[in-house]
């Protein structure tokens, strides 16, 4: 169980001098559900880009099931068993949910097998089952661009599952969803976690509390801290990153801090 599915060492990514990730270390156990939080610009999306092969690291390496991912292209990494859900749902809008799922479900992704083989019946059954899980049976055969935002989010999660990866990367699955949808998404992810390793990136703290066992906080391209949700919430470093120097605990100190430049100096008229 404690076998690592994903190990990241000394990961650094430079974009034209800007360090999106800085000497980042990270590892994920097989079967773990991990939530990553962090302020905007902390490098969360770059982190996913690196794992999925969209961006290549400047330094350091990513090992998935013990294999270094650097030489592989996106589609090869996807075939090795890493699935990604994007921040804004990216489903194929001119295809129906069923077709979307069937494409993701396809096991042999070569040109000719896609062309000549009909969808085998086990895959059809998987797709039907998934449609039920994500609640899209009534809309299974209408174009995906007619789905609501929440339904698209779910469809993309469904596509991810259809791909049956070992590791799921889920970027903000509840952005733009209603409370009810958010909660159902949480349940879905928890049930998925029984058979998959999952990394979720999320802002919605209530949602994080619902699903999280372990939380990693990213800040300025590095891991700031790691732990359970309670540990993280009480970590002074995290509070500082999110709220600034003034700590919430200091209930008495409600006055603004004095400036290094005194007010008299600053206001020259």
């Amino acid at each position: 169980m404690s076998e690592k599915i994903l190990e990241i060492e000394n990961l650094t990514v430079n974009f034209d001098g800007f360090r999106a990730l800085n000497n980042l270390g990270f590892s994920l156990d097989t079967g773990e559900l991990r939530v990553i939080i962090g302020p905007n610009g902390a490098g969360k999306t770059t982190f996913l880009d690196i794992i999925t092969g969209k961006t290549k690291p400047t330094e350091g390496q990513v090992r998935f099931k013990g294999r270094n991912l650097r030489p592989y292209a996106e589609y090869q990494i996807a075939e090795m068993g890493i699935g990604r859900k994007f921040q804004t749902p990216r489903v194929y809008l001119n295809l129906s949910p069923r077709e979307n799922l069937e494409l993701a479900c396809n096991r042999v992704k070569g040109v000719f097998s896609t062309l000549f083989k009909r969808t085998p019946s086990p895959e059809k059954r998987t797709v039907s089952g998934l449609l039920e899980t994500i609640g899209l049976v009534p809309k299974a055969d209408m174009k995906a661009n007619l789905l609501s935002h929440g339904e698209k989010q779910w469809l993309e999660i469904g596509m991810l599952v259809a791909q049956s990866p070992d590791l799921l990367l889920v970027d903000e699955p509840v952005a733009g969803l209603t409370d009810e949808e958010t909660e159902r998404t949480g349940e879905l992810l928890i049930s998925l976690a029984q058979s998959h390793s999952i990394i979720v990136i999320e802002h919605d703290m209530e949602f994080v509390r619902q699903i999280a066992r372990q939380v990693t906080v990213l800040h300025q391209g590095s891991v700031l801290c790691e732990g359970t949700i309670d540990e993280v919430q009480n970590d002074p470093k995290v509070i500082e990153v999110y709220l600034g120097k003034e700590e919430v605990q200091h209930e008495d100190d409600m006055r603004p801090m004095s400036y290094p430049v005194s007010a008299e100096d600053a206001i020259v008229t």
Binding site: Y75, R90, Y92, L93, T114, L115, R118, L146
Partner: protein, 388 residues
């Protein structure tokens, strides 16, 4: 139309397919047996030519309409197919003729048949070359372009440059291909005199059969999983990659198939016009092909055929009556279609038809998410940043 209806092996679906096949068969029978009674030989020949062109339009539709790659180089593939057949025809020299070479070679002092003409003595090889030659050229070119993830307008520009290159090449090689004049003055095919009405009727029927076959092939390609993957590549290529497919192979294959269609069209067209020259490789012709599809409605196979026929009949009528200002019409057609009829005739009919239907049944028109998503800055940003 075609992508929406997917065979799922159910009874209802296969009945739909039967109906469609019946309709296609009906149209074919009408074209083969009834139309010749209604038209003069000249008009019938025109119809045959346009039907041949619509085979090329089907190819354009496959790569542009379904896969989203705008090729401006299909004139090349069209002409290659035409030349392949024309070379066979030029080698049908009566045994008693003074020279056993195509006559133009004599003019340029060629004494021995160039090596690459020799395979074209054989009809099976020729028939194969008509489709294989353009397909191979397209596959090589496509592979070199797609593997570097060059796409969008860059692909269009490179295909356009290809037309110029082939145009220059064929124009410059008088000894090999008779240069600007092209290959013409065909005599016989299987003992049939090519220019006689009887032979032309045979070619006309042949064109219809091939059109039906390519239609069926396109229909098969664009239904199943393969077709859905093409649409997926058009809608969001990076996403396809993250799902575990390598789009390059798919794009190369579909580009090659569409080139083969163009080659076939070129061969049939050459049979019916009696000439093939580098002129059909000029840029204008290749872009015209695209506009046929745009007028008919991209991503609808029927639209590609319909558009070809509509535009070409309009062209032959208008350019007869107003030869001076045909280009004005054509230019305006481009503008109007792009600005006001982005889904073409078939798309417009479909959308309007759906609206009317929904109005009748009292349903409100569904709001479309697709265009608004296009404007969505987040999606746009993500597309840009995850798109290579």
């Amino acid at each position: 139309m075609t992508t929406a209806q997917i065979e799922r092996g159910g009874v209802g679906i296969s009945r739909k397919l039967m109906v469609e096949a019946a309709i296609v068969l009906g149209i074919m029978l009408f074209l083969i047996f009834v139309l010749p009674l209604l038209m003069s030989d000249f008009r019938l020949n025109l119809t045959g030519r346009f039907l041949a062109l619509s085979i090329a339009a089907l190819g354009i539709d496959l790569i542009w309409g379904f896969t989203g790659m705008l090729s401006l180089g299909h004139g090349v593939f069209f002409t290659l197919g035409g030349y392949a057949l024309a070379m066979y025809l030029k080698l049908q020299i009566p045994a008693n003729a003074s020279s056993q070479l195509p006559e133009f070679m004599g003019l340029y002092g060629v004494t021995e048949l160039p090596w690459f003409w020799k395979p074209f003595y054989s009809f099976p090889i020729t028939a194969l070359m008509v489709v294989l030659l353009p397909a191979i050229v397209a596959a090589i070119l496509g592979y070199l372009i797609f593997r570097n993830r060059i796409r969008g307008v860059y692909f269009s520009i490179l295909t356009q440059a290809t037309t110029i290159i082939f145009f220059n090449f064929f124009n410059g090689q008088q000894k090999l291909f008779n240069g600007t004049n092209g290959l013409t003055d065909f005599k016989t095919l299987f003992g049939l005199e090519v220019s006689k009405p009887g032979a032309q009727y045979v070619f006309y029927v042949l064109t219809i059969l091939f059109l039906a076959a390519t239609y069926a092939l396109s229909r098969w390609l664009t239904s199943g999983r393969f077709g859905r993957l093409l649409v997926a590549i058009r809608d969001d290529e990076p996403r396809v990659r993250f799902t575990g497919y390598n789009p390059t192979g798919f794009k190369v294959l579909v580009f090659a198939i569409s080139a083969a269609f163009a080659g076939l069209a070129g061969a049939l067209f050459t049979l019916q016009t009696g000439i093939i020259s580098p002129n059909s490789m000029n840029i204008a012709f290749s872009i015209e092909m695209v506009i046929w599809v745009a007028v008919g409605g991209r991503a609808t196979l029927v639209g590609a055929i319909l558009g070809t026929l509509v535009v070409n009949f309009a062209k032959s009528n208008l350019s007869e009556k107003f030869p001076d200002i045909w280009l004005f019409f054509q230019g305006a057609l481009f503008l109007l279609v792009v600005l006001f009829l982005p889904n073409g005739i078939v798309g417009w009919l479909r959308d309007r038809g759906l609206d009317t239907f929904q109005n009748l049944t009292g349903k409100r028109k569904r709001s479309m998410t697709y265009p608004s998503l296009e404007e969505d800055p987040e999606v746009d940003y993500e597309r840009k940043n995850t798109g290579d």
